[in-house]
């Protein structure tokens, strides 16, 4: 803990604090409400410091838990420096609570108290003197030293190499994957083709590498693709191959490359864009974009933010979210891994093994479960990781053990399942941030979202019109296409546009 001598209430100090950044830069600035001497109000200030709107706690009916949630969000964002502006306004209790929150959020987190009056911070017995907060004399530094020790945040990282706006891409041909690259070569100017082809070859080679790593995708008994491979492919498309694409055209190029790479291994991944509406390629990237994650950061309830993010990422409702345990979530929120062997509840009202329409429902449930519980972890995009880390911190603060549910019923975690609460929380959160999640529509909407008129369940590939043929072509194991002759990438593509 440092006391920064700001007796002159220097304007430059305010500017520097503003330049220090926010939770995204692992810093938070707490600005105490003037005249409020109670700890609860400072808890709301802490939530604001964590990036929440001032009214958010009241809107979500969690005003009494502002400290718990504030601390969890500081932990989720990995805040290492908590700056308290005009700290002389704090009472001893308020300052102690803020310091405790910072310490609990991250071990070794620094608290910077900007002491903005002429009152000597060493005055013994003064109510709120920060050196009493720490229980020992606190180091007093000048503003200049403060600037040196805590410099302004670094500028944002340069944009990704892949163009992220649809306008950055040329119009792409509608040809299916067997002739897509040739159509691009034939109908695009050389410079624009080079841009497409670089991404195409890079993605195809990444697909080759993934397939080599995965091993055998087919069941040797009947030649069908295994359900495990189907789930792993869905996860890989979602987390690595197509989902992270910054825009529709980039996702389309990636998809065509993946289709081509799979096809030469006798695996047919079809894309049926017809029912996806105008500009179907824009439906291909993942739903948990940085904009959505940013909007979710404004939620106070960590369970609502994390569950909505997970639902948007997986394109499925919270039916199985209650089975997640704390140990399944990486401490930094980067990955979630549910062991495939974990027991799951079955749909009520349908006998296991049912056929016909009910069989389709069970199969769709099974597919959703496999996409959640796979051997490969679910990778969370970097911009959404604080959401999951914050809820993990909140649950740990609440005293939950590693084997306890990650999502718990807020009032009766021991006896009541969290599913219904989560569904309501996701719906209200999604509505608030203007996100329409078709897979959360009610029972009157059992035909799903906008694809087809038959019930189809919810899955990441299904929402995008992607179908992996488990049977049919490729099942005939006597037909094995030769591997591509590599590298077929024209030299001028690697060298850059001519």
């Amino acid at each position: 803990m440092y006391v920064v001598d700001n007796a002159g209430d220097d304007l430059a100090a305010v500017r520097h604090i503003n330049a220090c950044g926010g939770p995204a830069e692992h810093r938070a600035v707490l600005r105490p409400t003037p005249g409020a001497g109670d700890v609860l109000t400072t808890g709301w200030d802490l939530l604001v410091a964590a990036g929440k709107p001032p009214h958010a706690a009241r809107r979500e009916h969690v005003t009494a838990l502002s400290w718990e949630y504030g601390q969890a969000w500081l932990a989720g964002s990995g805040v290492t420096d908590l700056i308290i502006d005009r700290a002389h306004l704090l009472t001893r209790d308020q300052a102690a609570a803020a310091a405790a929150a910072a310490a609990a959020a991250k071990a070794g987190a620094a608290v910077w108290l900007l002491w903005g009056t002429g009152i000597d911070p060493y005055t013994p017995g003064y109510d709120g003197a920060p050196h009493l907060v720490a229980g020992a004399r606190t180091q007093v530094i000048s503003l200049w030293e403060f600037y040196q020790r805590l410099p302004a945040a670094a500028p944002p990282l340069p944009a990704a190499a892949e163009p992220g706006e649809p306008d950055d891409w040329p119009p792409l041909p509608a040809a299916d994957f067997p002739t897509f690259l040739a159509a691009c070569r034939r109908y695009l100017p050389r410079r624009e083709f080079a841009q497409v082809a670089r991404l195409y070859y890079d993605t195809a080679e990444a697909a080759d590498a993934w397939l080599d790593t995965y091993g055998a995708p087919r069941d040797p008994r009947d030649g069908q693709l295994t359900p495990r491979f189907e789930a792993a492919t869905a996860g890989w498309l979602r987390d690595s191959a197509i989902g992270p694409a910054p825009c529709g055209p980039a996702a389309l190029v990636r998809l065509r490359a993946v289709q081509a790479a799979l096809f030469v291994r006798a695996i047919v991944l079809s894309w049926r864009p017809g029912p996806l509406g105008p500009l179907p390629a824009t439906r291909l990237p993942g739903n948990l974009t940085s904009q959505v994650a940013g909007a979710l950061q404004t939620a106070v309830r960590t369970d609502a933010a994390a569950a909505t993010a997970l639902s948007a990422h997986l394109n499925q409702g919270p039916a199985f979210f209650g089975l997640l345990q704390l140990s399944d979530v990486a401490p930094d929120g980067s990955a979630i891994r549910v062991p495939p062997g974990r027991a799951r509840p079955h749909r009520r009202g349908i006998t296991p093994g049912a056929v016909g329409w009910y069989g389709q429902v069970l199969e769709a449930d099974e597919r959703s479960w496999r996409e959640l519980a796979t051997a490969e972890p679910i990778l969370i995009p970097a911009h959404a990781r604080p959401l999951f880390a914050a809820h993990l911190a909140y649950r740990r603060e609440s005293g939950a053990a590693s084997t306890d549910p990650y999502f718990a019923h807020p009032r009766d975690p021991a006896n009541k399942p969290a599913t219904d609460v989560l569904r309501a929380a996701i719906r209200s959160t999604a509505q608030r941030i203007g996100l329409d999640l078709p897979w959360l529509h009610g029972d009157d909407c059992r035909y799903g979202a906008d694809i087809g008129l038959t019930w189809r369940g919810h899955s990441w590939p299904g929402e995008r019109g992607l179908v992996l043929a488990r049977t049919g072509p490729g099942q005939d194991q006597t037909i094995t296409p030769p591997p591509p002759i590599l590298p077929a990438r024209p030299q001028w593509i690697s060298d850059g546009p001519a």
């Binding site: 041909p173 509608a174 040809a175 299916d176 994957f177 067997p178 002739t179 690259l181 040739a182 159509a183 070569r185 034939r186 050389r190 070859y201 080679e205 080759d208 590498a209 080599d212 790593t213 065509r256 081509a260 790479a261 096809f263 030469v264 291994r265 006798a266 047919v268 079809s270 894309w271 049926r272 996806l276 509406g277 105008p278 179907p280 329409d436 078709p438 529509h441 909407c445 035909y447 979202a449 906008d450 087809g452 008129l453 043929a469 072509p473 490729g474 006597t478 037909i479 094995t480 296409p481 030769p482 591997p483 591509p484 002759i485 590599l486 590298p487 077929a488 990438r489 024209p490 030299q491």
Partner: protein, 272 residues
């Protein structure tokens, strides 16, 4: 509201709300309650509905009426001209809708007009070919009328290419099977048994569709098929020499490496 309601328009278009939702790529809930709930829909949804159903946006959201009727400038068209133009457009649309060429009296009966009005509209259409946009009025002997695409916009080569185009069809399962077989065993030197595969039910139709689309071709007889250069390039079997030649560009060759088979256990990383 002056125009037809959304429900009427949907009925005329022969669409259910579910199908409209599918066509527009929006959730059917967004079009299920025509009025007044459409007022709260996103602008893009309103635009797409108006576009797809040829409906005026103010008929979807009456509050838009004063906004849309506010024009930036007065175009100064006389009413008579507007009426003539409207009749001509009606005739063109009716002819495009009809399944067969119509005579003037058939048109008049269908549209509920007097014959002179229908004849005048046909004459106005003939006199103003720009009214039809990409379509033009055609007389079918002896005295019936229809519309067909204009002939003065596209070149002959473009028209021929369009006639030959089979569309950007998506590979179905049977076609994928045939294409895989063509890649793996299409020629005798590959050691496969393509003639036996051809005997499978449904094979001939899928093979014919692939040949029509130009993805495969036969040179020496039906028992051997070759995969087109475009497919081989897109699947990374060859480079782009053939397209470069076609486009008259000098190709820059890349060194070609034949990797070990998949079963060999080494993957693409081996060539990096």
């Amino acid at each position: 509201m002056t125009g037809p309601t959304l429900r009427e328009q949907l009925r005329d278009a022969g669409l259910s709300t579910w199908e409209l939702g599918d066509l527009l790529g929006i959730h059917p809930h967004l079009v299920s309650d025509p009025h007044p709930l459409l007022t709260g829909r996103p602008v893009q949804v309103l635009i797409e509905i108006a576009r797809r159903l040829d409906i005026h946006p103010a008929d979807l959201v009456p509050e838009l009426e004063p906004l849309l009727s506010h024009r930036r400038q007065d175009l100064g068209e006389d009413l008579g001209g507007q009426d003539g133009r409207a009749d001509a457009l009606t005739v063109l649309t009716a002819l495009a809708t009809a399944r067969a060429p119509l005579s003037a009296d058939q048109l008049a009966r269908a549209l509920g007009w007097q014959l002179p009005r229908a004849a005048a509209a046909i004459a106005a259409t003939q006199d103003n070919p720009d009214l039809g946009g990409p379509l033009a009025l055609r007389r079918i002997p002896p005295e019936t009328w229809t519309v067909t695409p204009r002939l003065d916009v596209l070149t002959q080569v473009q028209r021929r290419a369009l006639r030959d185009t089979t569309g950007a069809a998506i590979l179905d399962d049977d076609q994928a099977h045939v294409l895989l077989a063509a890649l793996a065993a299409g020629q005798k030197w590959q050691g496969g048994n393509y003639p036996a595969l051809r005997a499978q039910p449904g094979w001939a139709a899928a093979e014919a569709a692939l040949k029509e689309a130009g993805l495969i071709y036969s040179r020496s007889g039906p028992d051997e098929v070759h995969v087109s250069d475009d497919v081989r390039f897109s699947l990374r079997y060859t480079d782009d020499d053939h397209i470069a030649r076609e486009l008259g560009e000098p190709p820059l060759r890349a060194p070609v490496v034949i990797p070990p088979a998949w079963a060999g256990g080494t993957g693409p990383e081996a060539r990096e």
